[in-house]
Symmetry: C2
Subunit: 265 residues, 2 copies
Amino acid sequence: MEPTIIERPSYGVAVSALTILPIIGMGEIQPGQDLAGLAIAAAAKSGERFLTGDVVSVAQKAVSKMEGRLRRLADIEPGVEARRMAAEWPEKDARAIQAVLDESVRIVRWTNGILITETRHGFVCANAGVDRSNAGAQDTLVLLPFDPDASAARLRARFIEAAGADVAIVITDTFGRAWREGQVNVAIGIAGLPALERYQGRTDADGYELRITEMALADEVAAATELVQRKLERCPVAIVRGLTWSGAPETARAYVRPAERDLFR
Amino acid sequence: MEPTIIERPSYGVAVSALTILPIIGMGEIQPGQDLAGLAIAAAAKSGERFLTGDVVSVAQKAVSKMEGRLRRLADIEPGVEARRMAAEWPEKDARAIQAVLDESVRIVRWTNGILITETRHGFVCANAGVDRSNAGAQDTLVLLPFDPDASAARLRARFIEAAGADVAIVITDTFGRAWREGQVNVAIGIAGLPALERYQGRTDADGYELRITEMALADEVAAATELVQRKLERCPVAIVRGLTWSGAPETARAYVRPAERDLFR
């Protein structure tokens, strides 16, 4: 499915239709499996293939499972802090809290049994991204990748090797937000794509400098692909086809905002 | 361009590819113009038309201009508060600050000349969404629609009437976020689409109750269409084709989170 390209030389960037393709039929990802190879095979079964220029969105949980970023609850010895927190909120398992604390550098909020922390990567999210659902066994926790940008870079190399297509990779997770109800998918790991599209100093069609300075390109890719992946489906991989960009590749660390620059907290 | 539908009866929802189509060639929107009619005509020039089931994303600025939500700086008399704030940060025009205050119920942050407020609608964003760029004249400010959900409902009725297609409408604006660098497009007005896709009590493929409870469907539509609209283009309208949903229509007021429920602030 080739995108429709409408050339607009007056603005320098071609405006094109995008296609967002879910890759289904990959089954449950197991530790050590070749996620890229499984995605390429699943796509082929639908008569689809990965093309140079595709942005491939991969759900964090599939990456974490592939990488074996799992902990069994039975193996976790909760510390003093985790036991104190579990005592405050008896529905919570002290071992699960300990697993979250182990992935965190700071507790942002602990209220009504909901734990918001800052992860080692600098992301602020519920439970440091640690998840029990979809783990394949009820007593298993799935952690975020140790270094999601490195995971994205490895996946990208594997797609280039196995599909012969120079794709970009966005690893996504589902985060809550300040001020607004509802969660959205965001990018926690990136390879081959800018995190931010910078407009500083650029002017709009009327010649005025733009108020909006940095659009979160990879986060918007993550949100767009969630529309085809949806929560209840087993669809860890989706393709955004037809996207163009001009900036240099970045990692998702570009999204981590220093506290002193954050006016929205 | 019909979407590819892949039936997945085991999950109850069809997984389909999405197409995101920019509508170009609409020109600058003027007060009183028929935005839906202009979009339908512009689409026709590209051999495209609006179809039942399309989600039509419309940039706030085009809606505001159509509705004449404009103020001339020369007509604004700044009050005591606006003059005090402008004295603190001389690059800011006291009249522009006054226009922001007039659209706001609360100042969230006023630092380094950046003004974050809560709008009358309950949205938290920079400058209450008031913008100078793209206004067509340098001394004109563009305000958010008075009631973006009502604007969306009117646009939807007009599309149904003029295109004979039962489309949903999402009015988008570009907001900054807490914790993360970069802005994303979000939904500030909705008609014919749920704001939130609710998963409470639903189970995933393994039978576990889902940790993620509410996905911000219309916000994800807004982010997805920004990928084809991009900031420097004159492309106020884009179509998401192929999206399915099961919930009842909601307004964007569903995104306004009461302070006591907000753990991310």
